[in-house]
């Protein structure tokens, strides 16, 4: 589009064709390149929200191959679960496929682990900050989630409130989850409050973690909630960590 066509500044009304704009119209403040980048950033934020949401549905359905496909699979991938840390290009494969169990896992013994497992992580209070350069993004969600597992033939539920912090990166395959961390507020047995329920951190039967989980807040009547666990995403220009 030729910008000059819109600046009919000197065109008198009499000479205008019907419907043609003849009044002075300002130029945008931003250049075309700047506007394009802003639209890309806004679109990226929506895509990242959809990635976080898709993670929730696919994870609940034990579609772990597809969960792994949401990740970037770079050497700097990192997944921090309350029970341990996975690092590297195969972090997502180990965390979700090898440890969590995929719904299509051919091993019947592994498939048994899925019976009675209901984990639903809601994603609320979305914060998504896309870098000024449009190449990475930081996200944070509050999650009033829940879990149920079977034990001795019966089901047991927990209210499982946590935060999900995700960094995203633009790859050749599109936007992907890059770093993923889950921080628990509490995981309370259904019939007991978080002040009275024993600490509960679900972990799959098989663990191929690289490191133990870092020290993190978990509700106790003596605990003081930390300032930045994690840091709240703020506008930033380019990834520097």
């Amino acid at each position: 589009m030729n910008m000059q066509d819109n600046n009919a500044y000197d065109k008198p009304a009499e000479g205008a064709a019907p419907g043609e704009r003849f009044n002075h119209i300002e130029n945008p403040k931003r250049t075309q390149e700047e506007m394009s980048l802003e639209f890309e950033r806004l679109t990226a934020a929506k895509i990242c929200e959809n990635l976080a949401g898709s993670f929730s549905y696919l994870f609940s359905a034990n579609r772990m191959q597809e969960v792994s496909d949401l990740f970037a699979h770079t050497d700097t991938d990192r997944i921090t679960m309350p029970y341990g840390v996975y690092k590297g290009a195969d972090a997502a494969d180990r965390c979700f496929l090898r440890d969590m169990v995929d719904i299509d896992d051919p091993d019947p013994a592994r498939h048994e682990e899925l019976k009675g497992r209901m984990i639903i992580p809601d994603m609320c209070t979305p914060i998504v900050e896309v870098a000024g350069d449009g190449k990475t993004a930081k996200g944070l969600w509050n999650s009033p989630g829940l879990e149920a597992h079977s034990k001795d033939g019966a089901g047991q539920g927990w209210w499982n409130w946590s935060k999900f912090a995700m960094d995203f990166i633009l790859t050749e395959q599109g936007w992907k989850i890059w770093h993923f961390s889950r921080y628990l507020y509490f995981s309370t047995e259904y019939l007991k409050s978080w002040a009275k329920s024993p600490k509960h951190i679900f972990a799959p039967a098989r663990l191929t973690i690289d490191e133990p989980a870092p020290e993190q807040y978990y509700y106790t009547p003596d605990a003081v909630y930390p300032d930045e666990e994690p840091a709240i995403p703020a506008p930033y220009d380019t990834w520097t960590e």
Partner: protein, 216 residues
């Protein structure tokens, strides 16, 4: 760098997703104070609109109206009396995945819905968690609901652990206008979570059948 036309297209997709979010959220706010009959103005005028609830499925407008089981707990705008007794429904929408078709004619969305339903005067109340899946049409300059399915997760009284109580089978209640029923998930210690309740939508160019909330 995008052309201005491409940027405008990007804007239209962003705006569509925001309008759809607002539409669904507004329904939740209205349902919260029992104004859910306003829901009908959110629907497309097409006769192939489809409403799929745990208690049955309907096609078309007439049966849509019958499909609301809380028919008798609906507030008339001029009369607040039938809300006596502390009746309240809460159906929130979290975890959105909203995909607008590239051709801007249709959209798909899924939500989780933690909720509550109760009537204080009857000492009745349950947590009521479910999930929504929608298809939308852009019709006469507005986004409208085309198809909607609710997937129940659980409905349990306060002291009933949702891990120990399966949702009642609502298909046992016969309702006017129900055409058919679909099986739905009910938690149990031997149950594996369903694959497609719902299937989160993927980016798409133009609508084609087959998504159907992922239950095909």
């Amino acid at each position: 760098m995008m052309t201005y036309e491409e940027m405008y297209h990007a804007y239209q997709k962003l705006e569509a997703a925001d309008q759809i979010r607002n539409l669904v959220s507004n329904y939740c706010f209205e349902h919260n104070c029992a104004l859910q009959m306003r829901y009908y103005r959110n629907w497309s005028k097409r006769e192939d609109i489809r409403h799929e609830m745990p208690w049955g499925n309907t096609t078309g407008h007439r049966n849509l109206e019958y499909n609301n089981p809380w028919h008798d707990v609906v507030r008339h705008p001029d009369d607040a009396e039938n809300m006596k007794g502390g009746a309240m429904f809460i159906h929130s929408t979290t975890t959105p995945v909203i995909e607008v078709a590239d051709d801007l004619k249709t959209a798909r969305a899924v939500f989780l819905s933690p909720g509550f339903e109760g009537i204080a005067a009857k000492k009745m109340g349950t947590w009521a968690n479910s999930k929504y899946a929608y298809e939308f049409l852009f019709e006469d300059g507005e986004w409208k609901v085309w198809k909607c399915r609710i997937f129940p997760v659980f409905r349990n009284d306060y002291f009933d652990d949702f891990g120990a109580v399966a949702e009642e089978d609502m298909t046992k209640k016969k309702r006017v206008g129900m055409e058919d029923f679909h099986d739905f998930f009910r938690y149990g210690p031997d149950v594996i979570m369903p694959r497609n309740e719902p299937d989160p939508p993927r980016p798409y160019d133009t609508w084609e059948p087959g998504w159907n909330f992922g239950t095909d």
